[in-house]
């Protein structure tokens, strides 16, 4: 198997699906770049080069630069999905979902239900999320809990290049609207990725590591942080189970409950703000279903209830860290009931 970056894995998934299915189109702001300009076409290939080369291979009818106006092109992707295409629309930063939330929340998510099951909306919205690049408050948020809240949407958080390719191919073949969250600090992360197309089913968590003492449920980029923490904790003879749910909607509640029943302790690592987050959701899931299995209060490692700061002196304090995960594990091992952070 070849080593590929998260960026290459996503590009490869798009290319292979566009080769397989002529109804798959991609659209977005500068997804090619250079349209109408005197210089090169495919000048950017997406703002961070994720879709580079697809314009050259598939041309302007399959790779559409849009105007810089999200309501209409995200809405057009919804309308196209309901009428025979499989659009993959790029919402450059998920922070911009505020601009076009109606089309996501009231249109894409609800067409099928409102029309009594007679609409099918095979739409993928690829979007960048997450802190770590000093992109500040309007380009760094982890807004997946907001869309997870909305019935009718599926929400995907790939945690590695392998996961990114398999989950994106699944998203494109899926017949429901999918929001696909790409962490902007992970594009250069490398990992083993098969050359051939493959899918990873939604709603099936990946158990990366099995341990006896604590279950750590982590999302997206936080999965690799949890793995580092688990390596460090192993040296202190604390063994961790690591669960990557892969998708927050659907959510593999069974795997989470089973692994917590085995360890009796839970730490959730979520890059989102803490209120109404995946962290609170998982703690609530465990507390309401298997309270008796818990040996100690669950711990949450999240961003604080604050916007994402710009300064490189502040941003690392905002993002959940390996140290904070280790501290949370130690706190639950010590049976502490209060948040360690």
């Amino acid at each position: 198997m070849a080593k590929k970056s998260y960026r290459q894995a996503i590009n490869e998934a798009l290319r292979q699906e566009m080769e397989r299915d002529p109804t798959v189109i991609i659209m977005g702001e500068d997804i090619s770049g250079g349209t109408g300009a005197p210089g090169e076409q495919d000048a950017w290939g997406g703002p961070l080069g994720i879709t580079k080369g697809l314009y050259t291979q598939f041309g302007p009818t399959r790779v559409l630069d849009t105007h810089l106006a999200e309501i209409s092109f995200i809405g057009a992707a919804v309308g196209a999905a309901a009428t025979g295409l499989r659009p993959v629309a790029e919402l450059m930063f998920v922070d911009f979902i505020g601009v076009c939330l109606d089309q996501v929340m009231n249109q894409a998510a609800k067409l099928r239900y409102m029309f009594g099951g007679k609409a099918t909306t095979p739409l993928v919205i690829r979007t960048m999320y997450g802190a770590g690049l000093s992109a500040a408050s309007q380009h760094s948020q982890a807004l997946y809990p907001i869309v997870t809240h909305i019935p009718g949407l599926k929400v995907v958080l790939p945690s590695s290049p392998y996961e990114a390719k398999g989950l994106l191919i699944q998203a494109i073949r899926d017949n429901d609207p999918v929001i696909f969250f790409e962490h902007k600090a992970m594009y250069d992360v490398e990992g083993e990725v098969p050359d051939e197309p493959y899918t990873i089913p939604f709603g099936q968590a990946n158990v990366l590591r099995e341990g006896d003492d604590v279950t750590i449920v982590a999302f997206g980029r936080m999965v690799s942080f949890a793995m580092q923490a688990a390596d460090n904790l192993a040296r202190k003879n604390i063994s961790c189970t690591i669960v990557d749910p892969r998708t927050t909607s659907p959510l593999d509640t069974e795997t989470i409950l089973e692994t917590v029943e085995e360890t009796g302790r839970l730490v959730v690592v979520d890059e989102a703000n803490p209120r109404c987050s995946m962290a609170t959701d998982i703690v609530s899931l465990v507390g309401t279903n298997i309270f008796g299995a818990l040996k100690a209060a669950p711990q949450m490692v999240t961003a604080p209830h604050s916007p994402v700061p710009f300064s490189s002196a502040l941003e690392p304090l905002y993002i959940p860290s390996v140290d904070k995960i280790e501290a949370a594990v130690m706190a639950t091992m010590a049976g502490q009931g209060r948040h360690a952070a």
């Binding site: 309501i71 009428t83 109606d102």
Partner: protein, 324 residues
């Protein structure tokens, strides 16, 4: 290109039947809402019939329309059958949408009717998407976005003009301007003119008397033909009047005295009858026969809908996802 007055006898009867069906249907919904048999919010299309039918008589089944909260008329104009509509509006299990959409989300994708919409202006981008599908897949279909004067101020609509133009989409924008955005006059709330707004995007536009089927039909015919021939978007501004309130139950105290009574003197059905009889295209007898047929059709649909079963508890959690 033949104008509306050159339509065949059967086409004219078809157009008249669609308009009368809308009128009788909506009058029935008005009465049923007052009687308490319809839950929720209902917005009626009475008075606007010539617009929806004048446009949709230029479309075929594979063409698509995106509608508004005032969507019953667009459904009928696009060929959606009325019994399923009444059942849906009454929340019945075998309504068009299984009773899950109701008046504000009534839809029939098999007829190219992409749904009424509870969000003002949201249909513009959806119609652009349907036009993109038609263009990409080479189906030759045309997409129409219906919306009101209120929606014409939404960013979603103004963005859609731009996107339709730069992508050269096969789409017709139809502003049904009944003079009111809910309870606020469009003469106050709309800055500038609708056709000049379109002109700023280099989108050909025309304002017509929305009470006159033939004016609407002729203008829409040119626009649909332009779209189908690869000529891109157009905008049709129809000026008309709604006979009832923004929603059923609206006391309409914002209206001028005798406003609706005066408007009814230029009734779209009356104008149609007058024009086809004067031109000796149809006689009163044939038109009266349509009236009688439609009255019976709606009466039967009401009986069927009232006898139809409601959804059951298990239906609450179906149709959310294709697979989950």
């Amino acid at each position: 290109m033949a104008g509306g007055m050159q339509l065949s006898r059967s086409q004219l009867l078809d157009a008249y039947e669609r308009m009368v069906t809308i009128r009788v249907f909506e009058e029935a919904m008005h009465e049923e809402f007052a009687a308490g048999t319809i839950p929720g919010f209902v917005h009626l299309y009475c008075g606007e019939e010539a617009s929806g039918v004048g446009v949709c008589m230029n479309l075929v089944e594979t063409d698509t329309i995106a509608s508004t909260h005032r969507g019953h008329g667009h459904c009928i104009a696009k060929g959606v059958e009325v019994e399923g509509m009444v059942k849906e509006i009454m929340g019945r299990r075998d309504g068009l949408c299984g009773g899950k959409g109701g008046s504000m989300h009534i839809a029939d994708l098999s007829k190219g009717m992409l749904g009424a919409n509870g969000i003002v202006g949201a249909g513009g981008p959806l119609a652009c998407g349907a036009a993109l599908s038609a263009k990409t897949l080479g189906t030759g279909a045309v997409s129409v976005a219906f919306y009101g004067d209120g929606a014409s101020n939404q960013g979603a609509i103004l963005e859609s003009y731009n996107l339709a133009k730069i992508w050269n989409l096969p789409i017709v924008f139809v502003i049904e301007d009944n003079g009111y955005a809910e309870a606020t006059a469009s003469s106050w709330s709309v800055a500038g003119s609708q056709t000049r707004r379109a002109g700023a995007f280099d989108i050909p536009a025309q304002e017509v008397d929305g009470n006159d089927f033939f004016e609407v039909y002729d203008a829409a015919a040119a626009m649909v033909e332009r779209a189908r021939g690869g000529g891109g978007p157009s905008l049709l501004h129809t000026k008309l009047m709604r006979y009832y309130g923004h929603f059923e139950g609206d006391a309409q105290t914002y209206r001028g005295k005798d406003e609706v009574a005066n408007a009814r003197k230029r009734d779209p059905l009356g104008i149609f009858r007058q024009r086809v009889i004067e031109a000796a295209l149809l006689d009163a007898e044939a038109l009266d026969a349509v009236d009688a047929k439609v009255k019976d059709l709606i009466a039967q649909a009401l009986i069927a809908a009232k006898a139809a079963p409601f959804p059951v508890e298990a239906d609450l959690l179906t149709d959310i996802y294709a697979e989950y």
